[in-house]
């Protein structure tokens, strides 16, 4: 049985850890602290915890002010409210003056589930990636989340870290080291490479098993550091395998798939397919049903890999 561990549970614990190591760590939330798990920090360090009520814009700008005075604020709420509702505050008050604000959002993606479209965020990576000075990280398991959160606390500048509502299978060991801008090559491929982030890394692993049955050796890169992107890893994969499929729990517009396409189009045009939500809003449903409904599955990834390999050899898919 695969061990499952929540990225947001890990966030709460990591914040408490950081809080006892560094007095400058402060935490803000917009009335979702029990969901984002920042409440753990609040219970332990009430003086350094600010519940802002339902006011995401005020939360981000207050965090900017705290950072401008030397604090290291972590600001949390659901991904859509953090990045959508408060986008211009992040642009103007966090990124432009390079304030040391860490935005850690939970409930990214479609697997938010029954709450439906209003709460399912498929746009956050695009919204954060376009901002100068912003770093964007999408961890693929709880241990990577912890490492990324600790990295963000230690390194100056604006960070956006996207976590999920649901637990992820454990992929890494607890002592994992996070290196910004460095992709994790999970599998080295021969016929094609999948570049994935977050939950889709796990779907990609299943897809690789399916494809192995067909005699295909497909590579996998966990691109948790979406900005800065590991361009070299993308180019190496393109040159050695000649076919790329991206997979993300996000719109195919503006996210990981777009970031990879930008690199390939400019430096190494390569047959490519993107797995993601195809310019649609979400809808209510259970997470697994939603993943199937929107084509975010191992089967779809495997199908896309087959298609892109066909393109590479000049087959009839062209």
């Amino acid at each position: 049985m695969v061990e499952m561990l929540g990225t947001r549970e890990m966030y709460g614990d990591t914040l408490v850890e950081l809080g006892s190591e560094n007095e400058d760590i402060v935490v803000l939330d917009s009335d979702l602290s029990s969901s984002t798990r920042t409440s753990k920090f609040g219970e332990r360090f009430p003086e350094r915890f600010f519940n802002m009520g339902v006011s995401e814009q005020d939360m981000i700008d207050t965090a900017a002010g705290l950072a401008a005075s030397g604090k290291i604020p972590f600001a949390s709420t659901f991904a859509i409210f953090a990045t959508g509702r408060a986008w211009e505050m992040i642009r103007q008050s966090v990124c432009y003056p390079k304030n040391n604000v860490k935005i850690v959002a939970t409930h990214g993606g479609i697997t938010v589930g029954p709450d439906g479209a209003s709460h399912q965020c498929m746009e956050d990576i695009a919204l954060m990636r376009v901002l100068p000075n912003m770093t964007v990280i999408v961890p693929a398991d709880a241990h990577e989340a912890r490492a990324a959160i600790r990295f963000a606390a230690k390194n100056r500048g604006p960070f956006y870290i996207r976590l999920a509502r649901d637990k992820f299978p454990v992929l890494y060991s607890p002592d994992l080291d996070f290196e910004l801008g460095r992709a994790r090559v999970q599998r080295v491929g021969r016929e094609a490479t999948i570049i994935a982030a977050g939950l889709m890394v796990h779907e990609a692993l299943k897809a690789i098993d399916l494809l192995e049955g067909q005699g295909l050796r497909v590579g996998l890169i966990n691109m948790s550091s979406i900005k800065p992107l590991d361009r070299q890893a993308v180019l190496d994969a393109a040159r050695t395998t000649g076919a790329i499929v991206t997979a993300e729990e996000h719109s195919i517009l503006g996210g990981l798939g777009s970031a990879v396409a930008e690199v390939l189009a400019e430096e190494c045009p390569t047959p490519m397919r993107r797995i993601g939500v195809r310019d649609l809003f979400g809808t209510s449903g259970e997470p697994q049903a939603l993943l199937a409904h929107y084509g975010l599955t191992a089967q779809e990834i495997a199908r896309a890999v087959g298609e892109v390999i066909g393109l590479k050899t000049g087959g009839e898919n062209r």
Binding site: V26, S55, T62, L66, K71, M89
Partner: protein, 273 residues
């Protein structure tokens, strides 16, 4: 003594107005009316109230000033330059490529600018954040923030207003430059914000009203704010947009336009240059 002090501040204000008009005329664009309406307020803060040190803009114990109505930045540049935060020769480069003086305040570049503003409504939350940080750091500093009356149409101002009161940020003092005009016309016609004083009271603030061009009143209110404990203070400063230049006073047109060379000459004459 008090009279001498006020006379001195009035003279500084006159010089500040001259600098504002010259730098805006040279720049060829910018916001004249809302810079002139805030001259006494910003002058009083930097020359008679705040603890600050132009030699050490990052001195931890300093009082902070946040210009939430960032388009009024010429008045802040004029005052910071006169305090010695940077050489006044930079006034001539306002808004030009490569200038130290951006079109709106940018903390990443200009000494003495605490917060990057320009997108309205964002200064008060950041002032709250600064004030919460200085409280955690056990520093005895005060935080001042200047809002526009038109700016108060932004919803975020009222989110922040709740935060200041909720966290009892009594070392924060906000001032509304209540000049009654915004870019599209009178505030009362575009989107009424009155009764401003009662709104802030209802949000849990200690509210004072002053003539925003009388130093005696401004300084008395700032002292009163400092002595008010347990809640933040809002000073509603009744001001005249374009104050100090007869043909600019209360003229909507000068919200976002600058004097022509001829107008500059007339204005400087009025200011006895």
């Amino acid at each position: 003594m008090e009279e001498d002090r006020v006379a001195e501040l009035k003279e500084i204000a006159r010089q500040v107005r001259i600098d504002i008009l010259k730098m805006l005329a040279k720049a060829g664009s910018g916001h004249t009316g809302g810079s002139l309406s805030a001259v006494e307020i910003v002058t009083a803060l930097y020359f008679a109230k705040m603890r600050h040190n132009p030699e050490r803009p990052d001195w931890e114990e300093r009082d902070r000033f946040v210009l939430s109505k960032g388009h009024g930045v010429p008045v802040l540049y004029a005052v910071l330059g006169r305090c010695g935060y940077f050489d006044r020769k930079h006034f001539e480069t306002l808004r030009q490529l490569g200038s130290l003086l951006q079109g709106h305040p940018y903390s990443g570049l200009t000494p003495g600018i605490e917060v990057s503003t320009g997108s309205l409504g964002q200064g008060l939350s950041q002032a709250n954040g600064i004030a919460l940080a200085t409280r955690l750091n056990r520093k005895d500093c005060r935080v001042y923030v200047l809002l526009g009356d038109g700016e108060s149409q932004e919803g975020l101002i009222w989110e922040a207003a709740m935060t200041s009161a909720h966290y009892k940020i009594d070392h924060l003092c906000a001032i509304t430059d209540n000049n009654g005009l915004q870019i599209d016309g009178p505030v009362s016609k575009v989107m009424a914000v009155e009764p401003i004083a009662r709104k802030w009271e209802a949000f849990g603030w200690h509210v004072l009203e002053v003539d925003g061009h009388r130093f005696e009143e401004i300084l008395a209110a700032l002292d009163c704010a400092e002595n008010t404990k347990g809640r933040p203070t809002m000073i509603v400063a009744h001001t005249v947009k374009g104050k100090g230049v007869s043909f600019m006073e209360n003229q909507v047109k000068y919200h976002g336009t600058v004097p022509t060379p001829q107008e500059l000459e007339l204005a400087l004459k009025e200011l006895q240059v």
